[in-house]
C-alpha cells in the first residue's frame, strides 16, 4: 500500500518529527512518501527519495499524481487539499488536524470532503465534529526514543521555574514573564528560565530584554532564545532534579506537546485549564485561565510541598504510555488500514 504524507513545512521538530517516527515504523509495511511545500532541513533526515519538496501548486499536483497513492494524508495544509483534487483525487484522503482553534478557519471552506479525519485529542475531536466533519479518530502525538533515554541531570545550584514557548500572544509570553517575576519575588532562590523566541519580531525581543532588565526578581533569569531539540529531554530532567517545575500560560492547545514532554521527563507542570490540557494534567496542576494569582500559588506549592509535587505528576505515567510511539502508531496504522479498505471499496 502506498501512503503519501503531505505537510507544509519541513522543519525539525513538531509534526515533522511525528512523520519521521511514522516513516521509521511503517516503512517495512507500507510504501511511504513525504511531500513538503518548503524544506528547512527536514528532507535530509529521510532516506534519499522518500521526502520531496513541491513548492508550487503545479508541482504539488504533479507529485500527487505521480505517486499514485492508495492513501493521502494531508496535515493542516490547504494547498495540498486543492492539489489532491486537481490531481484527480487518487486514493482515499485522510485529513490530519494538529493546529489549534485559532488556525482552524481553513476547515470552514474545505474544497474536498476527506474520507477520514485524524486529530490529536478529544478536545479537538469535539471541535471538528462541531464543524460537521466525520469520521474522526484520535491519534495522540508520540515521542521518540530520546525522550525515554537516561540522563545525568547536572546540579544547577538553584530551583529553575521554566517557561517554554514562542514569544507571541498565543503563548502569552508577557503574562509568563510577569508570572515568573511574581514567583521569584515570593520565593527567592528560584531562577526563572525562558526557552524559545528565536524567531520573534525585533519588537518582542526588545520588550523581553527590557522586562528582564527592569524587573528586579527577573534579574537572575536566563533566556535561551534557541535550544536544540536534542537538549530538551535533558533540560526537563535537570529542572525536575533541581526541585524546579514548568509553568504554562498558553491560550489554547490542541494537544499540549511541551506539557507532555515535561511530564514524560518527570518535570511537574502548572498550566491553565484550556484546550486539551485537562486531558493530560491532573486537576491540581490546572488554574482558571487568567487567574495568575492561582497559577503562582500552585507553582509555589509545587516548589515547596513534596506531596503536592507528587500530585502534579500523578498523570505522568499515563501520558508516558499515551505518547509512546507504539501506542500512537498502532492507532494510526488502524486509520491507514481502514482508509485503504475504503479506497478499494470505492
Amino acid at each position: 500500500m502506498k501512503v503519501l504524507f503531505c505537510y507544509r513545512y519541513g522543519v525539525i521538530g513538531g509534526v515533522s518529527t511525528q512523520l519521521l517516527n511514522r516513516y521509521t515504523h511503517f516503512s517495512a509495511e507500507f510504501e511511504i512518501g513525504v511531500l513538503y511545500e518548503s524544506d528547512h532541513g527536514m528532507v535530509g533526515h529521510f532516506p534519499p527519495g522518500v521526502a520531496r519538496v513541491a513548492g508550487t501548486d503545479e508541482a504539488r499536483e504533479a507529485a500527487i499524481r505521480e505517486a499514485e497513492p492508495d492513501v493521502v494524508v494531508v496535515i493542516d495544509s490547504p494547498g495540498f487539499l486543492s492539489a489532491w483534487r486537481r490531481a484527480g483525487s487518487p486514493g482515499s484522503l485522510v485529513l490530519e488536524v494538529h493546529t489549534t482553534t485559532a488556525n482552524l478557519s481553513y476547515l470552514d471552506e474545505l474544497v474536498v470532503r476527506p474520507d477520514h479525519v485524524v486529530t490529536v485529542s478529544e478536545y479537538m475531536r469535539e471541535k471538528l465534529a462541531a464543524l460537521g466533519l466525520s469520521p474522526i479518530s484520535v491519534v495522540p502525538n508520540c515521542l521518540d526514543e530520546r525522550w525515554y533515554a537516561e540522563t545525568v541531570p547536572p546540579a544547577l545550584g538553584t530551583a529553575p521555574v521554566a517557561w517554554i514557548g514562542k514569544l507571541d500572544g498565543h503563548k502569552r509570553w508577557r503574562a509568563a514573564a510577569d508570572l515568573l517575576d511574581r514567583i521569584a519575588t515570593a520565593r527567592p532562590g528560584v531562577t526563572p528560565l525562558i526557552v524559545g523566541g528565536y524567531t520573534a519580531p525585533a519588537s518582542e525581543v526588545a520588550a523581553l530584554t527590557t522586562k528582564l532588565a527592569t524587573s528586579p526578581a527577573l534579574g537572575a533569569a536566563r533566556w535561551l532564545p534557541r535550544l536544540d531539540y536534542d537538549l530538551m529531554p535533558g533540560l526537563y530532567s535537570a529542572v525536575a532534579a533541581n526541585g524546579g517545575l514548568t509553568v504554562s500560560t498558553t491560550t489554547d492547545e490542541s494537544f499540549g506537546m511541551s506539557v507532555a514532554e515535561a511530564l514524560v521527563r518527570g518535570c511537574p507542570v502548572v498550566a491553565p485549564a484550556v484546550g486539551a490540557l485537562p486531558e493530560i494534567l491532573p486537576e491540581e496542576a490546572l488554574y482558571p485561565p487568567g487567574d495568575w494569582a492561582g497559577a503562582a500559588e500552585r507553582a509555589l506549592r509545587g516548589l515547596a510541598d513534596p506531596d503536592f509535587r507528587a500530585a502534579l505528576l500523578s498523570t505522568a505515567e499515563a501520558v508516558r504510555e499515551r505518547t509512546h510511539a507504539e501506542y500512537a502508531l498502532a492507532a494510526f496504522r488502524e486509520v491507514l488500514q481502514r482508509s485503504a479498505k475504503s479506497s478499494k471499496v470505492a
Binding site: S105, T209, L231
Partner: protein, 944 residues
C-alpha cells in the same frame, strides 16, 4: 479626505479599549497572513501596518494619496532603528495608477481601501499587475453597513469574493468581527474584469440595514435632545438655588422678610417638583430610547448573522447540488452499463454450451493421438543422442584448424610491420641529424648576440639599482597618501549616508519631490533596472591592499564588485564553505567570530575589533568578521588574507547557523559580541550550546553614546542580556567594568585598548625646539571639548595647535589653531616630530569616564608627553597627565610640553600593552571557561 486614525487606534490613544483590541486583531491577522518579501501596502495611511511589517524584516513600500497621513508615516519611520527604517519607503500615489513596474512585489495589502476608492476594479487590476506570479493579496473591508462619510460602497462576504475572484484565487475569506478579510493568490490568467456589484439579496439586506441605521440614528438624536433638556433643567435649578441663597442673606430677620422667604421657599419647592418631574421624565425617556436602540442594534446584528449563515448555507447547497448532479450522472451511466452487461452474459452462456459439446469430441480424438505420440517420442530421443556425439567431435576439429591458421597470419604480419618501421626510422634519423646541425649553427649566432645584450643589461641594472631606494621612498609616500585618501573617502561616504538617513534630509527630499513631482526622489530606492544618469556623484570605495602572501596567490579572493546589485546569498554561502575549509586547515588553534559594528577590515581603520582581528590573522587563526553597511547594494569587500571572511550585518544572520555548526577541526571557538546588537541576543546562548566561548567586549559606554545621538541601535535591555549571559565579559576601562558589573551582577575583567607595534614612528628624531601642540582623532563636538581647546589656544598664543581629524563643527578658529584634515598614520608620525605635546581634550562626563583612548598608546609610542582631560582609566599611565578642571588643563600645557617622559619606562609599559597581549588575555579567559565549565542554568547548554 479619509481622516484615518489607525495609528491612534492601534496604540489605544483617544479610543476605547474595544476599538484598540479590534484594530490590533485586524492588523495582526493581516500580518500573520502576509508572506515575507517585498511588500506593497496600498492605502497605507499612517503607515502602522508598514512599520510592523518592516520591523519583522520585510521591505515595505507604503502608498497613499493622503499627504498628511504620509507625512505622519514618515515621522514614524524616522524614529525607527536605522536598519528598520532602511526597509521602509512611503510614496504618494493613486491606487488606480501605480508607478511601479510589473511583478515587482511578492505581496500586497489593501486594508480598508476598496470601500473608499472610486473604481475598485481598476485598483485590483493595478495590484494584479505589480504583483509577481504567485503573489499574495490581502484585502480587508468593513463588514456590512458602517456609516462613514468616505465609504462609497458596502461589502458582504460574497460581494468581496465576487470582486476579487476574477484576478485572485481566494485562499481564505473570513469575518474579523466588524470586517471581512481575504487572502488571495494572483491568477496567472484572469477570469474576467473585476467589478463591484451587490446581489439582489445583499441589496435588500443593505436597505434593511440602512433603515435600521436611520432608525437608530433617529433614536440617538432623540436621546441627545433629552440629555440636553435634562442638563438645562439641572442648570436652571442650580441657578434658582443660588438666587434663593442671595435673597436669604439680604432679607434675613423681619417678618416681611420671612414672608418673602416662605414664598420663595414655596417657589423653590415648585421648581424642585417641576425639575424632578422633568428629570424623571427625561431619564425614563432616555432609558426607553436606549432600550429601543439596543433592540435595533441586536436586530441588525441578528440580520447580519443570518446573512452570514445564508452565505454558508448557499455554499453548502451549491456543493450538495454539484455532488447530487455528479451522482445522478454516475447512476445513469451505471444503469446503461448494467443493461449492456446483461446482454453480454446471455450471449456468453450460449457460446459456452456450444464449446462444451465440441470439447467432448476433441477429448476422445486427443486420447488416440497421445498413444501414437508416445512411441514416436521414444524413437526420436534415441536418434538425438547419437547425432549429438558426432556433432561435438566435428566442432572440436574445426576449432583446432582455425586457431593454427590465425597464428600463422599474425606472425607474418608482425614481421612485415617491423621491417617497415625500421626503414622509416633510419630515414627520420637522417633528417633529424641535418636539422640539428643547422640549429646548432643558428644557436651559435644567437648566443653571440645574447651575450652582447646581457652585458648591456648588466650595465643598465647597475644604474637602476642606484635609483631603487629613491623609488621605494616615493612608493611609501604615495601609499600613505592613498591610505589617507581612502580613509577620507570612507568617512565622507559615512557622512553622506548619515545625512541621507537623517530626518532633515528625508523631509527635504519629500519637499523636493512635492515641488517637482516628475523627478525621482533621491531618498527613495531606485526602481529595479533603472540606473542613474551619471555615476560620477556616487562615491566609490577604494580598498588599499596589503601585498598578498607569495605562497597562496590562488586563494586570493576576487576584487571588489563594482556593480550595485546585491551579491546572491548562494554565492556568499559558497564563499563561506570555502572559508570553512581553509579555516579547518589553518595553523592557528583558535577560530574567531568577530561580531563587530564597525566598517569592514581595512588599513585606514584602527578600532578595537579590527586590531584584534589582525592579531588573530597574524597568528594563523581564521576570523569570520561581521561588519556594518548602510545598504545591501554596497559591494562586498575583499581582503588578501584567505583566513578572513567578511560578512555584512544584513547577510550574517543567514550564515550564522552554518558558521556556528561548522567543523573547525578541534580549534577553540571564540565569539566576540563587540556591540550589543539584537542578533547577538538571539544567537549568544545558541553559540554557547554549539561549543563556542562567548565574549561580550564592552569597548565603549554605548548608553552614553546613545545620549549624544550616536549608537542609535542601542537598547539597554540587549546590553544587559549580553552581560548576564556571555561566558566572558570584558571592558576597556575600570569604570566601564564597574558599570557592567552592576548591570549584570557578575565579575567583569578589564582588557584595555592597546598599541599596534606596527604604528609608524617619525623617520627623523623629534626636534629639540619642537613647539607645536598636536591632536589626532575625531573632532566632533559630541565629545571633543572645543571650548577648552579654544581657551587653551587663546591662553597660549605663542603655541601652534595642530589638529588632524574630521567631523569638526563650523567654528571661527584663532590663527594659532590649524586644521589639517584626515591624515594617514605615516603622515601623522612625520608630523609628530614637530610636536612638543599631544592633547586629548574631551568633555568630562560619563562618556569620557568609560573611555580608554587608543590614541594614548599611539602618542606614547611616538615619544610624546600626553595631556588629557579627565580619563580615570589613564590616570596611572606613564607619561600621561590627567587633569580635571579647564584651568588646570590650560595651565598644564607649558609644564607638560617642557617635560620629557621616562622613555625606558614608557617602552616597557607599551611592550606589556600590545594587542598581542590582549589576545593572550582572551585566550586565558577562554581557557578558564573551558576548564571550569558553565555555571547555574547555563550548565543546561552543555548537558544532554
Amino acid at each position: 479626505m479619509n481622516h484615518d486614525r489607525v495609528h491612534l487606534a492601534y496604540n489605544g490613544i483617544d479610543v476605547d479599549p474595544e476599538t484598540q483590541t479590534l484594530t490590533r486583531n485586524r492588523l495582526h491577522w493581516l500580518l500573520d497572513h502576509l508572506p515575507p518579501g517585498r511588500i506593497l501596502d496600498l492605502g497605507c495611511s499612517q503607515g502602522t501596518l508598514s512599520v510592523l511589517a518592516a520591523r519583522r524584516g520585510d521591505r515595505v513600500t507604503g502608498v497613499d494619496i493622503e499627504e498628511d497621513a504620509l507625512a505622519f508615516a514618515a515621522g514614524l519611520a524616522a524614529e525607527l532603528p536605522a536598519d528598520v527604517a532602511a526597509r521602509l519607503a512611503f510614496v504618494r500615489g493613486d491606487g488606480a495608477r501605480l508607478a511601479f513596474p510589473d511583478g515587482c512585489f511578492d505581496a500586497a495589502v489593501a486594508g480598508e481601501l476598496l470601500e473608499h476608492v472610486t473604481d475598485p476594479g481598476a485598483v485590483l487590476a493595478e495590484l494584479h499587475r505589480v504583483l509577481a506570479p504567485g503573489g499574495t493579496l490581502l484585502a480587508s473591508v468593513p463588514h456590512g453597513l458602517m456609516p462613514h462619510h468616505d465609504h462609497r460602497r458596502t461589502f458582504y462576504r460574497a460581494g468581496l469574493r465576487r470582486l476579487l475572484d476574477p484576478l485572485f484565487e481566494i485562499r481564505e475569506l473570513t469575518v474579523l468581527d466588524r470586517h471581512v478579510a481575504a487572502v488571495g493568490v494572483r491568477r496567472e490568467e484572469p477570469l474576467g474584469e473585476p467589478a463591484f456589484l451587490l446581489s439582489q439579496e445583499e441589496a435588500d439586506f443593505l436597505q434593511r440595514e440602512e433603515l435600521a441605521e436611520r432608525q437608530a440614528q433617529g433614536l440617538r438624536d432623540r436621546l441627545e435632545r433629552a440629555n440636553h433638556l435634562y442638563r438645562e433643567v439641572t442648570a436652571a435649578n442650580a441657578e434658582l438655588k443660588a438666587q434663593l441663597g442671595d435673597l436669604r442673606a439680604r432679607l434675613g430677620g423681619s417678618r416681611a422678610e420671612e414672608d418673602v422667604l416662605d414664598r420663595l421657599a414655596a417657589l423653590q419647592d415648585s421648581v424642585r417638583h417641576l425639575s424632578t418631574s422633568l428629570t424623571d421624565g427625561a431619564a425614563a425617556d432616555r432609558e426607553d430610547l436606549r432600550e429601543r436602540l439596543r433592540e435595533r442594534t441586536e436586530e441588525r446584528d441578528g440580520l447580519r448573522e443570518r446573512l452570514r449563515a445564508q452565505d454558508g448555507l448557499r455554499e453548502q447547497l451549491r456543493l450538495r447540488t454539484e455532488e447530487r448532479d455528479r451522482l445522478r450522472a454516475d447512476a445513469r451511466a451505471a444503469e446503461a452499463e448494467i443493461a449492456l452487461l446483461r446482454e453480454a452474459v446471455a450471449a456468453a452462456e450460449a457460446e459456452r454450451r456450444g464449446l462444451l459439446e465440441s470439447a467432448h469430441g476433441l477429448r476422445t480424438s486427443l486420447e488416440a493421438l497421445r498413444e501414437t505420440a508416445g512411441s514416436l517420442t521414444a524413437e526420436r530421443d534415441e536418434l538425438r543422442e547419437t547425432a549429438g556425439a558426432v556433432t561435438a567431435e566435428r566442432d572440436e576439429l574445426r576449432a583446432l584448424v582455425r586457431d593454427q591458421a590465425e597464428d600463422l597470419r599474425t606472425a607474418e604480419a608482425a614481421h612485415a610491420s617491423a621491417a617497415r618501421e625500421l626503414r622509416a626510422r633510419i630515414a627520420a634519423l637522417d633528417e633529424e641529424l641535418g636539422a640539428e646541425r643547422a640549429a646548432l649553427a643558428r644557436l651559435r649566432t644567437v648566443y653571440n648576440g645574447e651575450r652582447h645584450r646581457h652585458e648591456l643589461t648588466q650595465h643598465r641594472l647597475g644604474k637602476l639599482a642606484a635609483s631603487e631606494d629613491r623609488l621605494r621612498q616615493e612608493n611609501d609616500r604615495l601609499r600613505a597618501r592613498l591610505e589617507t585618501v581612502t580613509g577620507r573617502l570612507a568617512d565622507y561616504r559615512e557622512q553622506i549616508t548619515r545625512i541621507r538617513s537623517s530626518r532633515a534630509w528625508r523631509m527635504l527630499s519629500v519637499y523636493r519631490h512635492l515641488r517637482r513631482p516628475g523627478r525621482p526622489d533621491p531618498a527613495q530606492p531606485r526602481p529595479a533596472g533603472v540606473r542613474p544618469v551619471a555615476a560620477s556623484g556616487a562615491p566609490t570605495r577604494t580598498i588599499v591592499m596589503r601585498p598578498a602572501p607569495e605562497a597562496a596567490p590562488a586563494a586570493r579572493p576576487a576584487a571588489p564588485r563594482t556593480t550595485a546589485a546585491p551579491v546572491p546569498l548562494d554565492e556568499v554561502r559558497t564563499g563561506l564553505r570555502e572559508w570553512v575549509e581553509r579555516a579547518r586547515a589553518a595553523e592557528g588553534d583558535e577560530v574567531v567570530l568577530m561580531f563587530s559594528g564597525t566598517t569592514f577590515v581595512q588599513e585606514a581603520r584602527g578600532n578595537r575589533p579590527i586590531r584584534l582581528t589582525r592579531v588573530y590573522l597574524g597568528r594563523g587563526c581564521p576570523v569570520f568578521f561581521n561588519y556594518y553597511r548602510w545598504r545591501d547594494s554596497e559591494p562586498l569587500p575583499s581582503h588578501p588574507d584567505p583566513l578572513l571572511f567578511q560578512s555584512p550585518i544584513d547577510i550574517t544572520p543567514h550564515l550564522l547557523d552554518e558558521v556556528l555548526g561548522a567543523d573547525f577541526g578541534g580549534k577553540r571557538k571564540l565569539l566576540f559580541a563587540s556591540f550589543p546588537h539584537e542578533v547577538m541576543v538571539r544567537t549568544l546562548t545558541h553559540a554557547a550550546a554549539r561549543g563556542w566561548v562567548t565574549v561580550y567586549d564592552a569597548r565603549d559606554d554605548w548608553e552614553e553614546f546613545a545620549k549624544v545621538g550616536m549608537a542609535k541601535w542601542y537598547h539597554p535591555g540587549h546590553e544587559r542580556y549580553l552581560v548576564a549571559h556571555a561566558d566572558v565579559v570584558t571592558a576597556v576601562s575600570a569604570p566601564l567594568a564597574r558599570k557592567m558589573e552592576t548591570l549584570g551582577g557578575r565579575p567583569v575583567s578589564v582588557n584595555a585598548n592597546a598599541l599596534d607595534p606596527d604604528f609608524p614612528t617619525p623617520s627623523v628624531p623629534r626636534r629639540a625646539d619642537a613647539s607645536k601642540v598636536g591632536y589626532f582623532g575625531h573632532l566632533t563636538d559630541k565629545w571633543f571639548d572645543w571650548d577648552l581647546l579654544l581657551r587653551a589656544a587663546r591662553a597660549h598664543p605663542g603655541l601652534v595647535f595642530e589638529l588632524a581629524g574630521h567631523q569638526q563643527p563650523d567654528l571661527r578658529l584663532p590663527e594659532n589653531v590649524r586644521l589639517l584634515g584626515l591624515l594617514g598614520h605615516r603622515e601623522l608620525a612625520e608630523l609628530s616630530a614637530g610636536w612638543a605635546l599631544a592633547l586629548i581634550p574631551f568633555r568630562n562626563g560619563p562618556l569620557a569616564d568609560a573611555v580608554d583612548p587608543i590614541k594614548v598608546y599611539e602618542y606614547l609610542h611616538l615619544g610624546l608627553p600626553v595631556l588629557a582631560t579627565y580619563f580615570p582609566q589613564c590616570a596611572d599611565y606613564p607619561g600621561v597627565r590627567v587633569t580635571e578642571s579647564a584651568a588646570e588643563f590650560v595651565a598644564a600645557i607649558p609644564q607638560v610640553a617642557g617635560s620629557a617622559p621616562d622613555a625606558a619606562r614608557v617602552r616597557a609599559w607599551l611592550a606589556a600593552n600590545t594587542w598581542e597581549c590582549r589576545v593572550e588575555a582572551y585566550t586565558e579567559l577562554a581557557e578558564q571557561v573551558v576548564r571550569k565549565g558553565r555555571d547555574g542554568l547555563l550548565t543546561l547548554l552543555e548537558s544532554r
